[in-house]
Symmetry: C2
Subunit: 305 residues, 2 copies
Amino acid sequence: MEKFEVHILGCGSAKPTTRHFPASQVVNVRDKLFMIDCGEGAQIQFCKSRLKFSRLQSIFISHLHADHCLGLIGLVSTLNLLGRTAQLHVYLPKGGGEVFGPVIHYFNWEMTFEVIFHEFDDKVSEVIYEDRSLTVTTLPLEHRMPCCGFRFDEKPTPRHILREMIDAYEIPLSEINRIKNGADYTLADGRVIANERLTTPSDPPRSYAYCSDTRYMPALAAKLQGVNLLYHEATFCEDDAQKATARYHSTASQAAQVAKEAGVGKLIIGHYSSRYDDESQLLCEASAVFEPTILARENLCVKIE
Amino acid sequence: MEKFEVHILGCGSAKPTTRHFPASQVVNVRDKLFMIDCGEGAQIQFCKSRLKFSRLQSIFISHLHADHCLGLIGLVSTLNLLGRTAQLHVYLPKGGGEVFGPVIHYFNWEMTFEVIFHEFDDKVSEVIYEDRSLTVTTLPLEHRMPCCGFRFDEKPTPRHILREMIDAYEIPLSEINRIKNGADYTLADGRVIANERLTTPSDPPRSYAYCSDTRYMPALAAKLQGVNLLYHEATFCEDDAQKATARYHSTASQAAQVAKEAGVGKLIIGHYSSRYDDESQLLCEASAVFEPTILARENLCVKIE
């Protein structure tokens, strides 16, 4: 199965602790790396997760709070130091290019590559990235400032053609792609061989969604249907539910409620408040609502299968 | 003896590694904290060294390369989140205020405290900070851009008055400070008691100097005379001496040569190139020239006695 995995680089929140880095993660889709959020220290954590800078394709910034994007300047500076030549695409809310452009320019007055800012509309859900195998769609969230989550969807892959059928019916190479895409095959004598005899089904497309930072949004579940893996922020415990609402954050059980209603495969919670010495209470509360929940931690890699 | 110690927060160089953070350290003088350089992740390392944000007084930035100052934006944002009210003084080369002011403002549009930028002239050595117990003097260095090191000098402290002499001669409280500062004491009958009988000598003033980043500067030794502890960059081994010169950095043995000629008490080397898997060769080369050399490492604390 093709690679589709999520690396957690940081899962703390704004106030620094000795245990967590601020928000950042990397989605590896077939060895193309897509970074989501880029908190301070993301480049150090990127190295610790043994990822390769040369494979970094794009960066998606959910919102312009310091703990979600301040690592961008240092990361771009390092890529420049390494002599990168490929364009780097940065997707972020409106205004982000104006904030980061000048300061990146100041620290890198001779650039070896181009940084291209793509500013998205935080009010609508839309496809902001697409390649042969993947789409990335924004998920408008409810936070104290314009903020979007991201949904990564694999595109459907062709069916698997059966080697022995190619040989048995002497199917020419030129027909292979049509058959992989579902076509039947007609022999010289006019007989039609049904596609189901020639192929086995393709792997179902997989998906990952990232939702941070956000207040509890019951409506979000509809947009997360069928997601294999969901990362949802869980800044607070149930005891601090009022703080969560006031600060436009979620509790662990609210994150789990969204996961449950969306019927996702697995939930990772993160963006922990610095007030908790460990996250066992958060896990306990989330698991009570949605059992297949795990805690994010730095340099954790979760494979989507 | 009053506290005077140096905490290493980061001793790597520009290219990130899994072993080191970029440049930052904290000088603790009698529980006032002075940060020198503020590379990315400095605030996280500050927490790891168990230092208190409330005691942070000033920040001194040697030069405006990314690996020496990018942590400033996040650190200021955290201090703001914590509701700091005391002014924060940031000393840095010309142009620094213009770079950091707008971006700090963007991420902190409601500030609970004032950040005051003091831009220094990198061409002359001058006192840029002074309080009752300390002066900080710039040390112009030779790097690819305007860059200064910093020398921290304790002010001479008063002599220690002998308790038993106060009692024996019934010295009034109003005379104590004069005597501590060296005055003799005249009794009612006209007899003069020499200061040396009433006091013991004060502790000699201590000093610390930070020199990073710089090419080997033989002339620097004259400005480092009498320094108890010297931090000098040692980016390269002797095998890479040509690279050191070309990139305006020093080798370990050059750092040690400066320490030796200045007759400092102890040398800490740091700012290690990412090319070395460990720093044993750097230590070996420096120690051969100047024996009392130690390697900087993250969260090391060196007391100056």
